[in-house]
Amino acid sequence: MDLDQLPRNRSARLRAIGGEGGFRRRLLELGFLPGTTVRMVRRVEIGGVIEVELRGCHVSLSAHEARIVQVDPVQAEPVQVEKP
């Protein structure tokens, strides 16, 4: 599944980061690495942007460009990211 298709509040494991160039390397440096867990926080349709959480950090990225990131959803139910 492309990262931008991930439903809100669902988590997934990153499978592969395609594409090339600076944008791809920036994603890698921000921690978008194969095996990392990401959660879809929200999508802002008006701006064409998705916000995801990974390694405890929130990152916004263009939804269209986020398609270079392939993910495998890990759970069917919305996940409780953490318990107090």
Binding site: G22, R25, R26, P34, G47, V49
Partner: protein, 734 residues
């Protein structure tokens, strides 16, 4: 590395939104200045940091960056400043600012710096947010794992700053350290890195094998060719490319391996650094974002916020601007009263004082602009503006952050151009600067007002058509700006805007002192750098409009004045204009005559063949030249040209009547509808504003872009006006 006597040079590095600027301000107070390096297009702030032992260090604030890799020209500056690639001197130590709430990601940059073997200290910000969530951060564990002392700091209150200073002194005293590799690298990657490191020259690696490998990794993970070559020798870049190609052929991905090795280390160690718990600030932020990024409410609130910003610039600054104009006018009157008539008096009042006034009138809008920018950035809302506007702005090649400058351009291009500095990439800044001056700024309104009035019969009340024409001018400017941005983004400023990837900062209360400091500093820079250019231009314009002096002309008018006075003594007929009225009329006529005979007047005649195809006569040419001081000056200049004296209001009835009545030598009207339309299009597109050019020169750092802006807008204006006037003729418009 510290030379005896010289204060140590400390570089402040960190991710965007790490709290770097707040810490910088807390450490340097108001002692910061803007520093430039030849050949480096990025501007730094540098300030004196008073260390606990009483000595001083020079603290240089680097642009925020997520890593040292050169993925764009801006990012390359960070590695050059930390490694010490000329013209940047090598630093004695680096203070790395890291947000404790998002430590893993911020550690990535810290690990890169640690490899280079530069003495470094980690300053942990947002520790209070962690504490509020009932968790804590273990600075000792961070130091044990990274070898870098970690100090929790709180910029706004000053907590931890003394400890940071103490720690820095300890690190400085220890002197140069060797690089430490903090990454879990597979053997194949190590071999790649070692093979590239063998090409790194001694002046870069300082006999430190770890540092040589760090520079090799940097070369392997950077892509900007030009930037690579300005930092490392060509054969290092060539070796890196060869290894990358070989790895790809073997089915390996060096980018994933390089980033993966560092994150493997970070993931293994970071659980010991912070209790894994989401800080409260994030939960609050998520709740706020549920509203502020809501498809409906979020956009409505965005519209409200932007309306407030725009209205403040467009209307809110008026009383202050009026106050400055009144004060400058009073100063001019005072000087005029004190000095005897003559060249010096005219120079001081019409040149210098007017020029100073021309600079100062921008200050209210600039201060307000930076007040809003500061509040938007500091609160975290600017990141949301970018998220909301990214699609729209990107569709014309602009960055999401260009929205605020573009909007502000409807008030005035000068603060809008200064606001482009919130964008990190030079390309994004330049593109915004090139199109912002096309927006219908408030200085164009008096010109449009006068010309639209001339289009309609004298007795006509404000009609629907007048309003529609004004609205059309706004729409026209937006369309042209978007098209221009689209074109320049594909030609002179090639390069797609980098796709949006941005950390979302939590909402925070803005620090008013930080905001106030930025307002003062940016205003100061404007007055010093752009102000001097504006002042010089005002004096040149004054010269062109007032010289050469013609004694014969003065004598003629003196004779007429004497005649009027004599006549007033002999005949006092009821209904005739009073002596004062007659003298005032003579003064106005004299000023008009002087202007027509000035250099500007001659220039107006010289350029007449060029502007005649646009439907303009030489008197309009003088108006256009005079409007270079500021577009609204066109109105006042036309009034003087027509011998009407001082008119600074486009609503002036005598001026409107005169413009409606003005005839050419062949008896036809000058301000026909098609001339008026052509002139309005000309003012919409031409860069008739020295202050805009001065601001572009200041912000781009070179006259080149100011010249390009002037050239493209002038050509565009001429061609468009030509089309309007000639087409108007074809279509049978009067």
């Amino acid at each position: 590395m510290t030379t005896a006597g010289a204060s140590p040079r400390i570089v402040l590095a960190g991710n965007p939104n790490a709290g770097k600027t707040t810490l910088f301000n807390a450490l340097t107070g108001l002692r910061a200045k803007v520093a430039n390096y030849p050949g480096v297009t990025v501007e730094f702030e540098s300030g004196a940091w008073l260390l606990p032992d009483g000595s001083r260090a020079e603290l240089v604030d680097l642009p925020g960056c997520y890593s040292l890799s050169a993925l764009s020209a801006e990012e390359n500056v960070a590695i050059r400043a930390i490694v010490g690639v000329p013209p940047m001197p090598a630093p004695d130590a680096v203070v790395i600012v890291a947000d404790a709430t998002e430590l893993p990601r911020h550690l990535y940059l810290a690990l890169q710096i640690k490899e280079l073997g530069v003495p470094s200290v980690l300053a942990l910000t947002m520790v209070d947010a962690i504490a509020r969530a009932g968790a804590s951060i273990d600075a000792g564990a961070i130091e044990a794992a990274t070898g870098m002392p970690a100090v929790p700091v709180h910029g706004p209150s000053g907590r931890g700053l003394r400890e940071l200073g103490d720690t820095l002194q300890r690190v400085l005293a220890a002197g140069e350290v060797a690089g430490v590799e903090l990454a879990d690298e597979p053997a194949a990657l190590r071999a790649d890195v070692a093979s590239v490191a063998a090409h790194v020259p001694g002046e870069l690696h300082h006999d430190d094998a770890v540092r040589a490998r760090a520079i090799a990794r940097w070369t392997l993970s950077s892509i900007e060719e030009a930037e690579l070559h300005s930092t490392v020798p060509r054969d290092v870049a060539v070796a890196a490319r060869a290894r990358r190609d070989a790895a790809r052929a073997a089915g390996r991905d060096l980018d994933v391996e390089l980033a993966g090795a560092r994150y493997a280390w970070i993931d293994r160690h970071s659980p010991a650094f912070v209790a894994r718990r989401r800080p409260a600030a994030r939960r609050a932020t998520d709740r706020i974002d549920a509203v502020l990024l809501h498809p409906l409410f979020g956009f409505a609130l965005f519209a409200v916020v932007m309306t407030v910003v725009f209205q403040a610039l467009f209307v809110g600054a008026d009383p202050l601007i009026g106050g400055i104009e009144t004060a400058v006018g009073a100063l001019g009157d005072f000087a005029r009263a004190q000095l005897g008539a003559g060249l010096l008096r005219d120079f001081l009042t019409e040149g210098v004082i007017e020029g100073v006034g021309a600079v100062l009138v921008f200050l209210p809008q600039i201060l307000l602009m930076f007040l809003f920018l500061g509040l938007l950035e500091d609160s975290g809302y600017m990141a949301r503006v970018v998220v909301l506007m990214d699609r729209v702005m990107r569709s014309v090649g602009l960055h999401g952050r260009a929205f605020v400058p573009m909007l502000s351009g409807f008030a005035c291009a000068v603060p809008a151009i200064l606001a482009t500095r919130t964008m990190e990439r030079r390309r994004d800044r330049l593109l915004t600067m090139l199109v912002v001056p096309l927006m219908t700024c408030s200085a164009r309104l008096p010109v449009y007002g006068l010309l639209i009035a001339a289009l309609y019969p004298a007795d006509g009340a404000t009609s629907f058509g007048q309003g529609a024409l004004m609205a059309a001018m706004y729409l026209f400017s937006i369309v042209v700006a978007l098209v221009a941005s689209h074109v320049f983004g594909r030609t002179v400023l090639k390069g797609r805007p980098a796709p949006l990837v941005m950390q979302m900062p939590p909402y925070r209360r803005p620090h008013l002192r930080t905001v106030a400091r930025m307002m003062l500093q940016r205003s100061g820079v404007f007055v010093r750098d752009a102000g001097t250019v504006i002042l010089a231009c005002t004096i040149v314009l004054w010269f062109l409009l007032s010289f050469p002096r013609e004694p014969a002309l003065e004598r003629d008018y003196d004779a007429l004045r004497a005649e009027a006075k004599n006549a007033a003594i002999v005949e006092v007929s009821p209904g005739a204009p009073s002596l004062q009225e007659r003298l005032a009329a003579l003064d106005s006529a004299e000023r008009g005559d002087r202007l027509r005979h000035s250099y500007a007047g001659r220039l107006g005649r010289t350029i007449e063949p060029v502007i005649a195809p646009l439907g303009f006569d030489w008197q309009i040419g003088i108006g256009i030249l005079g409007a270079f001081a500021a577009r609204e000056v066109f109105v006042a200049t036309m009034a003087v040209v027509y011998g009407l004296g001082d008119v600074d209001d486009a609503g002036s009835q005598p001026l409107r009547d005169r413009i409606r009545a003005e005839r050419r030598s062949d008896g036809t009207r000058v301000f026909t509808p098609r001339t008026c339309l052509s002139l309005m299009v000309f003012f919409a597109l031409a860069c008739q504003c020295m202050s805009t050019l001065a601001a572009v020169r200041r912000e781009s750092g070179t006259w080149k872009w100011a010249a390009f802006l002037f050239a493209y807008m002038s050509v565009l204006a001429w061609v468009a006006s030509f089309c309007v006037y000639q087409l108007g003729g074809v279509l049978g418009l009067a």
